[in-house]
C-alpha cells in the first residue's frame, strides 16, 4: 500500500463524524484568547467545557468562553468535573443540555477522590445508565479496567475514555497492556483521556490503536501552549498513521542490515 492509498478516515462518535482525533479541554489557560489560539492550533473539533454557577456580579459586557469558541463552530462536550455522585453528574448534564439548546453529546466523569481525581466507576456506571435512558450520547471517562470499560460499552456509552494516568499528572501511559485489552475488546471508540504529558505520550496512545486522545493540562500548562497544541496535533496524526501502517516486529537483533551485504569493497 503506498501512502496515497491511505486516506485519513474520520472518527465516528454517536453518528457524528470528526476529522481530528485530538480532543482538548479549555481549562487552565491564561485567558480566553490563549484558549482559542491553542484550540485552533491543535485542530481539535471537540472541546470540553465545565458547567459552573454564573458569576452574577460580572459586568454585562465581560466576554465569556462561548464568545471565543462559538458553539456553532466547535462540538462542545460539557463535562461533569467536580461531581462525586451519579446524581450530581446527571443534574449537571441535564443543565448543560438546556444551556446548549438540546445538545446531547456529553462527557461523563464521576470522581472518587479529590486528591487523586481517580474515577468512581460504580457511580459512573449508575450515572451512565440514567443519562443514556434520558437520551444523552455519553462519552465516559473511566479507569483502565477492561471489565468496567466493557460494561460501559454494553450499557450504551458511545465512547469509552480510559485514563492513561491520573488527571493533570502528565505521567503518560502507565498501563499500555490494559489499554490494548480495552481497544481489543470494545467496538465503540476508545479515547485516552487524562495523563498525557507530552507529544510522545499521545503518539503511543494512537500507536496502541486508540481512536483518539483527550487532553487539557499537557497543552494549557506547557511553557508555550500554542506550540504544544501544534505538537499534539502532529503526534496524534503521526501515531494514527503509524498504527495504520503497521509497525515492524521488535527483535533483540536481526542480523539483517538495511544496506546490501553484497558488493562490499574488499
Amino acid at each position: 500500500m503506498d501512502k496515497f492509498a491511505y486516506k485519513p478516515e474520520a472518527m465516528i462518535i454517536a453518528g457524528r463524524s470528526f476529522k481530528s482525533r485530538l480532543l482538548v479541554g479549555t481549562g487552565k489557560y491564561k485567558d480566553f484568547q490563549e484558549t482559542k489560539s491553542a484550540v485552533d492550533e491543535s485542530g481539535a473539533q471537540i472541546v470540553t467545557v465545565a458547567i459552573r454557577r454564573v458569576n452574577l456580579g460580572q459586568d454585562r459586557n465581560e466576554p465569556s468562553l462561548l464568545d471565543f469558541l462559538p458553539p456553532d463552530q466547535y462540538t462542545y462536550l460539557p463535562n461533569t468535573a467536580g461531581c462525586y455522585t451519579a446524581d450530581d453528574a446527571v443534574r449537571t448534564l441535564r443543565l448543560a443540555r438546556e444551556l446548549l439548546d438540546g445538545h446531547n453529546l456529553v462527557k461523563l466523569e464521576v470522581l472518587g477522590d479529590p486528591k487523586t481525581l481517580y474515577p468512581n466507576v460504580v457511580e459512573t456506571l449508575e450515572a451512565a445508565k440514567i443519562l443514556i435512558k434520558d437520551g444523552f450520547d455519553v462519552m465516559v471517562y473511566t479507569s483502565d479496567d477492561p471489565i468496567i470499560a466493557k460494561q460501559l460499552e454494553d450499557i450504551g456509552c458511545c465512547a469509552v475514555m480510559p485514563l492513561a494516568s491520573l488527571i493533570g499528572s502528565g505521567m503518560g501511559i502507565l498501563n499500555p497492556w490494559n489499554l490494548e485489552i480495552i481497544i481489543d475488546t470494545l467496538s465503540v471508540p476508545v479515547i485516552v483521556d487524562a495523563g498525557v504529558g507530552t507529544a510522545s505520550d499521545a503518539s503511543i496512545a494512537m500507536e496502541l490503536g486508540c481512536d483518539g486522545v483527550l487532553m487539557n493540562t499537557a497543552i494549557a500548562t506547557a511553557k508555550n501552549p500554542i506550540l504544544m497544541a501544534s505538537a499534539m496535533k502532529k503526534s496524534v496524526e503521526a501515531g494514527r498513521e503509524a498504527f495504520l501502517a503497521g509497525r515492524m516486529e521488535k527483535k533483540l537483533y536481526s542480523a539483517s542490515p538495511s544496506s546490501p551485504t553484497t558488493g562490499i569493497i574488499k
Binding site: 479541554g25 479549555t26 481549562g27 487552565k28 489557560y29 480566553f32 484558549t35 470540553t48 467545557v49 465545565a50 458547567i51 459552573r52 454557577r53 454564573v54 452574577l56 454585562r60 465569556s64 468562553l65 462561548l66 462542545y76 460539557p78 463535562n79 468535573a81 443534574r91 441535564r94 443543565l95 448543560a96 438546556e98 444551556l99 446548549l100 488527571i167 493533570g168 487524562a194 487532553m215 487539557n216 493540562t217
Partner: protein
C-alpha cells in the same frame, strides 16, 4: 420576596416576579445560561409566564473552561 440564587439570598421588592423579569434584573439578557428552580430545570420557553415564589432556590449556570 427572598430568592436564593447560586447560594446567595437576594431580596426583590415585589410579590410578582417572572423568570423573564428576573433575567432582566440580573443583567443576563443575551447571555447563555440555564436555570434550575428547586432542583427542576425551567426551559427558556417558559420564562415569560413562569413565576417565582418566596423561598425559591435557583441555580443559574453557564459554561466555563474545563477539561
Amino acid at each position: 420576596m427572598k430568592i436564593s440564587i447560586n447560594g446567595k439570598i437576594k431580596v426583590f421588592d415585589t410579590d410578582i416576579l417572572t423568570f423573564e423579569s428576573l433575567v432582566k434584573e440580573l443583567n443576563l439578557v443575551g447571555k447563555r445560561f440555564a436555570i434550575e428552580k428547586n432542583g427542576e430545570i425551567i426551559p427558556k420557553s417558559h420564562f415569560a409566564d413562569h413565576q417565582l415564589s418566596n423561598g425559591d432556590k435557583l441555580e443559574i449556570i453557564g459554561a466555563v473552561g474545563g477539561g
